[in-house]
């Protein structure tokens, strides 16, 4: 079971409270986790990754295990602690003006 923490705005859109728990097959990577997340909550498509390019949106970051994984390749395995569910994969709205 993969645990995902969403920022408040995306929890509102997905209508979830607290962490999201996902079953993810195969290698646990940013791509496979986000694919599973968007499959469960299609209303999140386009809000984390660009719909066309699948690139991370500029003001969205990915954290786990006290590390910023935002610039890791999307198919790189996530830390074991995320894959085993002991630590969450965190989607963060970057601190920026506005």
């Amino acid at each position: 079971m993969i645990r995902v923490v969403l920022p408040p705005h995306l929890r509102t859109i997905a209508r979830v409270h607290g962490e999201v728990e996902l079953d993810v097959d195969g290698t646990i990577s940013q791509r496979s986790v986000l694919d599973a997340l968007e499959s469960r909550y299609p209303e999140l498509r386009g809000t984390i990754r660009d719909r066309g390019t699948q690139q991370r949106r500029a003001f969205v970051r990915f954290f786990a295990c006290e590390e910023d994984l935002s610039h890791e390749p999307p198919d790189a395995p996530l830390p074991d602690a995320v894959a085993t569910g002991s630590e969450p994969f965190m989607v963060i709205g970057a601190m920026a003006g506005g």
Binding site: I13, E43, R45, R51, R57, F59, V60, A94
Partner: protein
Amino acid sequence: MGGVRVLAGTRKGAFVLTSDEKRERWEISGPHFAGWEIYHLKGSPADPDRIYASQSGGWFGQVIQRSDDGGATWDTVGNDFTYDGVPGEHQWYDGSLRPWSFTRVWHLEPSLTDPDTVYAGVEDAALFKSVDGGKEWAELSGLRQHDTGPQWQPGAGGMCLHTIVQHPTDGDRLYVAISAAGAFRSADGGKTWQPINKGLRSGEIPDTDAEVGHCVHRIAMHPSRPDVLFMQKHWDVMRSDDGGDSWHEVSGNLPSDFGFPIDVHAHEPDTVYVVPIKSDTEHFPPDGRLRVYRSRSGGNEWEELTKGLPQKDCYVNVLRDAMAVDSLDSCGVYFGTTGGQVYASADAGDTWAPIVRDLPAVLSVEVQTLP
């Protein structure tokens, strides 16, 4: 109970303002979608309970919301605005070419007859249509793929399709306006388009007969006289009497040659409203006096409307989508400011009062006249 519902989109959420026919006491609900930019929300003329909202932001992109109960509750619908085919390139500010890239939905225009059909004008400029209540969107790509497309370039606010006007009886006839390309007309439901900018004069275009490149800010039509169009552009207020085939200036005695919104009285097709703003860089009312100007003659002769509006130290702007009229017997006129006020007049502009004073900057105002 009849009444009006004012839909205000702001920099930090949407607000729904309701009143009875007297339009003296208002209830305010919101913010809906707090923290998000709500460029536009608009109700379906065919079903006033159906409202569409464009929700966007720098962090999480574009979301479209739909309400089926007059704005009390909302559901997320589709946000896939993928351009049809290879997007191509348009001009950037420096004259270089840049690929079309979707940024946001500026304007949502529900069909006059079908609550499930809605048009979306987007940045970079293109027109999309949904026929299933906003779940799926398809580009009407004949517009973006017009021969002049590579010549289009952004205005200061981006290259946005911000105005969509539907002919009241001919569902195939559409008008759109793009900053800074100009106005376009379709006679076949949006498959093919024709620039309709003859007669527009834009100070920074050396070719006075340029087919495109004009910074059109807004177009308005009265449904009883669909061949007459009024336009507020970067320079001047214009009028067409032939469905956009040609335009002539009707700025008359207006105190500036600039402004964003323009609208027409619900029952008097020759009564037109604008809000003069000082350009090019100031973008606030001349002399710090917030004035709506009304022409009862279809342009050229304008009277300033000031009762109830601040006449000193007022330096707000009124954006292109931030004015609307209701269709009660005594036509109500409404506009919102970048200072967060929404002003209403229940007597066609003679007197004004704020409905609310301290919202986030207002981006859009629409009005529904309720049965």
